[in-house]
C-alpha cells in the first residue's frame, strides 16, 4: 500500500510538473517538406547525398551514429509505418529502419528512367500507396519550361515500388491527406487542389479546391488543416471536405 501511495504521489508530482509545459508535451508533426525527422530515439537528417542518423537518447546531446550514402539531390524525408521515404531530385528512396540506428536502402525508384522526369519534392504515404509531387522548372540557356506532376506509387512491395499513375500539376509544393482526400499546394495555380484517392490507382480531381496565393506546405491535424504560404499561413476547418472553411489568420 505504501508503495502504491508512493508511486501515486510520484505520478502526481510528474503530472503537476509537466502540466506547466502542456503545450510541448506531445509529439508534434512536420509538414511534408523537411529534411529532419524523428523516430523513436533517433533523428534522421538529410544532407544532399547522405542520410545521417543521430542517437537522441540524451536529447540535449545527439550523437552521430550512422551515415548512409545516396545519390545527390535528397530533399525531403517522411516516416510512415516504420519506413522512411525520401524524395530526391532523381528518385524515391524507401529505407528499412527495422534497426533504426542504421537505415538500409530497400529500394530506389529512379524517376528519370521511369518517367522521363528529373524533379524533386515531397512524398506522403497512405496504406500501400505513396504520393509524390515532382516539380521541374527548367531554364537551360534562357528557355524556361515547367513540367510537374503528382506521381502515385504502389508500394505493397517496398523493395519494388510500381508507378500506377501520374497527374499533371502546375507548380506543386507540399501535400497531405485526410481520409480519402489528398491536398496539394499548387503554387502555379494559386490553389490548394483536392484529389479523391478512394481508388489510389485512379484519382479524381475534385472541385473542393481552395484559392490560396503561393501555397507552400500543409499539416492536417484532426478536423483542422494549416496551410502555409510564402509570407503567411491559414487555418481551415476540414471536417467536411466538400466545404473547406477558412478559420482565421494571424493577428500581429
Amino acid at each position: 500500500m505504501k508503495k502504491l501511495l508512493f508511486t501515486a504521489s510520484l505520478a502526481l508530482l510528474f503530472f503537476s510538473c509537466s502540466d506547466s509545459l502542456e503545450s510541448l508535451s506531445e509529439p508534434g508533426k512536420s509538414g511534408s517538406i523537411t529534411r529532419f525527422a524523428i523516430y523513436q530515439n533517433y533523428m534522421y537528417v538529410l544532407n544532399l547525398n547522405e542520410v545521417q542518423t543521430y542517437d537522441i537518447t540524451q536529447k540535449d546531446h545527439p550523437v552521430l551514429v550512422h551515415q548512409l550514402a545516396t545519390d545527390y539531390g535528397l530533399e525531403t524525408i517522411n516516416i510512415y509505418d516504420n519506413t522512411v521515404f525520401l524524395g530526391s531530385t532523381t528518385a524515391l528512396y524507401i529505407l528499412d529502419i527495422s534497426n533504426p540506428a542504421a537505415p538500409v536502402i530497400q529500394s530506389k525508384s529512379d524517376r528519370l528512367s521511369d518517367l522521363g522526369f528529373v524533379g524533386c519534392d515531397p512524398v506522403v504515404v497512405k496504406d500501400n500507396y505513396a504520393y509524390s509531387t515532382i516539380k521541374i522548372i527548367e531554364n537551360i540557356c534562357g528557355r524556361t519550361s515547367a513540367r510537374s506532376a503528382l506521381v502515385v506509387y504502389n508500394i505493397t512491395d517496398k523493395s519494388a515500388p510500381v508507378v500506377v499513375g501520374t497527374y499533371g500539376l502546375n507548380i506543386p509544393n507540399g501535400l497531405g491527406y485526410k481520409d480519402n482526400y489528398l491536398f496539394i499546394c499548387d503554387e502555379g495555380s494559386d490553389q490548394l487542389s483536392v484529389f479523391d484517392i478512394s481508388n489510389p490507382e485512379m484519382l479524381t480531381l475534385t472541385n473542393y479546391g481552395v484559392n490560396i496565393t503561393d501555397p507552400v506546405d500543409l499539416i492536417v491535424d484532426g478536423q483542422k488543416m494549416i496551410v502555409s504560404s510564402k509570407t503567411d499561413f491559414q487555418v481551415f476547418d476540414v471536417s467536411d471536405i466538400s466545404q473547406i472553411k477558412k478559420l482565421g489568420q494571424i493577428s500581429r
Partner: protein, 176 residues
C-alpha cells in the same frame, strides 16, 4: 533540382542543347552576391520580438503551437489555441537555419555547417545547449534562382542571404 556549373560546362550544355550562347569567361551585369556573417555571429542564438513572416520554410505543429521557419534567420512561434485568432508569440533567432525538427522541449536545427540543439522549454528564453560542428553540407548558390552570382567564398564566413547587385567578372551561374 539545382545545378551549379562553371561557364565552360554551360557552354558545353548549350552547345549540346543547340542554343546560341556567347562564349566568355566572366559576366558583368545584374546578379546576386552572398551576404556573410562571421562564425562568432553564427553563435548568436536567442529570442527576438515576434515578427512577420518574410519567406517561410518548414512548418511544425506541436499541440496548439505552430513553428514556422524563416529562411536563414530563425523560427516564428504562433499559438493556434484560438483557431480564429492565431497569436504571434515568439521568434527564435537561429542564424543560417534552413530546417529544423522538435522533440518535446528540444529543438534541433541546422546552422550553416553545424547541427544546433536548443532548449525551448521556455519559449521566451531559449537556450542553445549543444552544437555538433561540420556535419551539415550547406548550399553555396542562391536558392530558387537562375542566373549569375558572385561565387561563394567559405573563408568569408557563413552565407545568410543573397543580395541583388551589379556583378563584375562573375564566374558562377545556376540553372534549375
Amino acid at each position: 533540382m539545382h545545378k551549379i556549373v562553371c561557364l565552360s560546362v554551360i557552354s558545353l550544355l548549350c552547345l549540346l542543347g543547340g542554343c546560341e550562347k556567347e562564349e566568355r569567361s566572366f559576366y558583368d551585369g545584374l546578379g546576386k552576391k552572398p551576404v556573410y556573417i562571421t562564425s562568432g555571429e553564427l553563435q548568436d542564438i536567442r529570442n527576438e520580438p515576434p515578427q512577420p513572416i518574410q519567406l517561410s520554410g518548414t512548418i511544425f505543429l506541436q499541440d496548439t503551437l505552430l513553428f514556422v521557419l524563416e529562411q536563414r534567420k530563425g523560427i516564428h512561434v504562433f499559438s493556434l489555441k484560438d483557431s480564429l485568432n492565431s497569436v504571434n508569440l515568439a521568434f527564435f533567432k537561429i542564424p543560417a537555419i534552413t530546417d529544423f525538427v522538435i522533440s518535446g522541449q528540444v529543438l534541433y536545427a541546422d546552422s550553416w555547417k553545424d547541427l544546433v540543439v536548443i532548449d525551448i522549454s521556455d519559449l521566451q528564453a531559449i537556450k542553445a545547449t549543444d552544437r555538433i560542428v561540420n556535419v551539415i553540407s550547406p548550399v553555396f548558390y542562391p536558392p530558387l534562382y537562375n542566373g549569375y552570382f558572385e561565387c561563394a567564398d567559405e573563408s568569408k564566413g557563413a552565407i545568410i542571404d543573397w543580395e541583388d547587385v551589379t556583378l563584375e567578372s562573375a564566374k558562377c551561374v545556376t540553372t534549375n
